[in-house]
Amino acid sequence: MGSSTSLVPKSVTAAINAHGFGYFGCPHTFGQVGYRLKRTEQYIRVKPDNSSVVTDGVKHSMNPFCEIAVEEAVKLKEKKLIKEVVAVSCGPQQVQETIRTALAMGADRGIHVEVTGKDYETLGPLQVSKIMAALAKKEEAQLVILGKQAIDDDCNQTGQMTAALLDWPQGTFASELSLEGDKIKVVREIDGGLETIKINTPAVVTADLRLNTPRYATLPNIMKAKKKKIANVKPADLGVDITSRLEVLRVDEPPQRQAGMKVETVDDLVGKLKEAGMV
C-alpha cells in the first residue's frame, strides 16, 4: 500500500513520545543533580491510518533542549556547586543510548525507567512528571533540570507539572542559571523580554535555547561512560500509574500551503479580506 509521505510539522505530532527530560540536582553538599532525557525523532511522516507518526527506522537522538539541560548540570558539577549528576530517561531499551550520551557528557550515573510498547506510545507529560516527582523524592534531589520542551510534541508541560506535583518552585525557560546561597537565580526568557527570579531550593528548572552550548562528548569520555552505571526501574516500582487519560483520535498533516495573491491597493486588500470573511 502506498503511504502518503508528506512531512508533518510538529503541531500534529502531539500524540507520540511524551517523556520529558528532567534533572535532579543538589546545589550544595548533599543530594544530587538529575536530569531527564528525551529521545526524539528527526524526520517524520504520518502513518497511512492517521493513527500516529512513523517511528520505525527513523533516526532518534537526544532532544536538543535536553542536551542543554545536561550541559548545565555538568557545568554546575564542574564548578563544584553540586555533587552528583543523574540522567533519567523513560522509554524502551533504546533510550539507554541517550542516557549513555549524557554520561559521556559528564553525568555520573543514569536511571532508565522502563516503559515499552503501548504504554510508551501513550506516555505523556503528566505520567512523566509523576515519575520524575517520585524519583526526585526517592533520590532526595535538590534540583531537577529539564529541557523546556521536546521537539516532537512541543508540550512544554513536564517541567511545570513536576514542580506542581512536588510543590517546588519552578524557573522555566531559563537562559541563565546561578546558585546563590540556598537559592537559585534564574533569568527567564519571556515574551516581554528577560525576567530574573530567585527561587528556593529544591526547585525545578527548564532549559531554554540560550542557556549554554552543549559540549561534544570526547572519545575518552565515551569510553569512561561505559563503566558508569545505569539503574533499571519500572514505573510501578515508584508507585506511579502511567495509564493515559488522553486518547488520540487522529493525526493529520497540516494543509499544503496555498499560493498567495498580490493586490494593487489597500482598498483591494480590504475587499479581499471581506470576501474571505476575515474582516
Binding site: 527513523v58 549513555r100 570526547t218
Partner: protein
C-alpha cells in the same frame, strides 16, 4: 509504480528558537535523518556509534561550513584541528599513556569516514598526523614517546610524514636522502616532496637511508622544525645538510621498511574516500528530490533512480571492505596487507566514481563552486594516487597471488 511526491524536509523548530543555535537542526548535507540502506551506523557497536556521532556532529558543525573557504584560501585550519584533538582525534590509535585515545583501526576508520564528510583534505591531513603520532608511539623508545606523543595527540604540535622525493614516488625504496651517523648525531642530506602540511607543521617523520641500497637500508628519523639547515621550498620541503640528534631515530627494525609500510595509511585514505562518497550520495539524492525537469522531479527518472542505486551499492560494498580490512589489520591477520591493498584500490576508485557521478547528476550546478559536490570530487581524486598509487596496490595483490610460497 507510484510516483514519489515532493518530500520537503521540514526542520521542526519549536516556537521562538533562534536560528543560530548550533545543533538544533542540522541542515547541512551531512544530515542523517531517515535511516536508510547507506546509513554508516549499520553493524557498529553502541560505542562505535557514539564515536561516529561525535565525529559526524563535529564534521557538520565545525568543518563543513568552512570547507569551501579552506579550499579557496588554501588554509591549514589549525584552530579547528586543535578542537578536534580536544575530542581525542589527534592520536586516535595511539596509546593512552602518552595522550592517545587507544582505539582500534576499525574505530579509527569509522571516525575518519565521518570527519571526511566535513572536509576531505583536512581529514586526510589529520589521518597523516595520526599516523606519525602512532609511528613514534609504536617504534619510539620511552624518551621519544614521552617527548613527542603528548604534544602530537593534543595537536599542540603538528606532524608530517616525509617519504616521497622528487626522484622516488612509487619506487619509494630507492630514496636518496641520506642520514650519516657522526658521533652522537646524524647529518641528513636530501630533499623531500609532497609533504602534507609541510612548512606549517612542527615535527617531521623522515624516511632516510642509513644503510645500503634498497628497503633494508632505510631508517626513520624524527626531525623538529627548528633544526638548523631545514628549509622549505614553495609549499614543498627540502632537507639539506641538517644535523639531527641520534636519539631521534625510531627503532625501526630491520625488516621494517617493506612495501607493507605503505599500509600505515592506506586504510585512513580509503576511509576518507568513503566519507566523501557518502556525502555525495546524499547530495545527489537531495538534488534529485528537488530539481524538476520535464514536469517532474528528477527522482522520477528511472535511469537516475538506477544510477543512484548503483552508487549506493558501491558505497556500501566499499564500506564493508574497508571495515573488514581494518579488522584484519587490528588482529594482525595474515591477509591484512593484501586486504588493505585491495580496500585502498577498490574504495578509492569506486568512491571517486560515486562522487563524479553525483556531480554529473547535478547538471550544470555540479561544477559551480557554490555546490559542495565539486570540492569532494577534486579532493578525493588524489586518493587514487597517494599513500601508494592504485597501480602499486595491484603490484602488491598480484605478488601475493603469483609468488611461490
Amino acid at each position: 509504480m507510484a510516483p514519489v511526491g515532493p518530500l520537503a524536509r521540514i526542520s521542526r523548530l519549536g516556537s521562538g528558537i533562534c536560528r543560530n543555535h548550533r545543533l538544533i537542526f542540522n541542515r547541512s548535507p551531512q544530515r542523517r535523518g531517515i535511516a536508510s540502506c547507506i546509513d554508516p551506523a549499520h553493524g557498529l557497536s553502541d560505542e562505535q556509534r557514539e564515536f561516529q556521532k561525535v565525529a559526524f556532529d563535529f564534521a557538520a558543525n565545525e568543518m563543513a561550513p568552512h570547507m569551501a573557504e579552506w579550499d579557496e584560501k588554501e588554509m591549514f585550519p589549525i584552530e579547528t584541528m586543535r578542537k578536534a584533538a580536544q575530542l581525542g582525534f589527534g592520536g586516535i590509535y595511539v596509546q593512552p599513556d602518552v595522550g592517545g585515545s587507544g582505539l582500534s583501526r576499525l574505530d579509527t576508520s569509522v571516525i575518519f569516514e565521518a570527519l571526511s564528510t566535513g572536509c576531505v583534505s583536512t581529514t586526510a591531513y589529520i589521518s597523516i598526523h595520526n599516523m606519525c603520532a602512532w609511528m613514534i608511539d609504536t617504534f619510539g623508545n620511552t624518551e621519544q614517546r614521552e617527548k613527542f606523543c603528548p604534544d602530537l595527540c593534543s595537536m599542540e604540535k603538528f606532524a608530517s610524514y616525509c617519504l616521497t622525493e622528487p626522484g622516488s614516488g612509487s619506487d619509494a625504496a630507492s630514496l636518496l636522502t641520506t642520514a650519516q651517523l657522526k658521533g652522537d648525531h646524524y647529518i641528513l642530506n636530501g630533499s623531500k616532496a609532497f609533504i602534507s602540511g609541510g612548512g606549517d607543521t612542527d615535527v617531521y617523520v623522515v624516511m632516510c637511508r642509513t644503510g645500503g641500497k634498497g628497503p633494508k637500508g632505510i631508517s626513520c628519523l624524527v626531525v623538529e622544525k627548528e633544526t638548523p639547515g631545514l628549509s622549505f621550498g614553495k609549499k614543498e620541503k627540502k632537507v639539506e645538510f641538517i644535523v639531527v640528534l641520534a636519539v631521534t631515530v625510531l627503532t625501526w627494525s630491520k625488516n621494517s621498511f617493506s612495501i607493507s609500510s605503505f599500509h600505515i595509511n592506506t586504510l585512513p585514505t580509503a576511509s576518507c574516500s568513503l566519507g566523501a562518497a557518502h556525502a555525495c550520495v546524499q547530495l545527489a539524492r537531495d538534488h534529485l528530490l528537488v530539481r524538476k525537469q520535464f514536469g517532474e522531479t528528477l527522482s522520477n527518472n528511472q535511469f537516475l533512480q538506477f544510477k543512484l542505486a548503483e552508487m549506493a551499492t558501491k558505497l556500501v560494498a566499499s564500506r564493508l571492505l574497508v571495515r573488514e580490512a581494518a579488522t584484519a589489520l587490528q588482529e594482525s591477520r595474515s591477509d591484512a596487507v593484501s586486504l588493505c591493498s585491495m580496500a585502498k584500490l577498490f574504495v578509492t576508485d569506486e568512491c571517486f566514481n560515486i562522487c563524479n557521478q553525483a556531480l554529473q547528476m547535478h547538471g550544470g550546478y555540479g561544477y559551480l563552486k557554490d555546490y559542495a559536490v565539486q570540492q569532494f570530487v577534486r579532493d578525493i581524486r588524489v586518493h587514487q594516487i597517494l599513500e601508494g598509487t592504485n597501480e602499486v596496490m595491484r603490484m602488491i595483490i598480484s605478488r601475493n597471488l603469483l609468488t611461490e610460497s
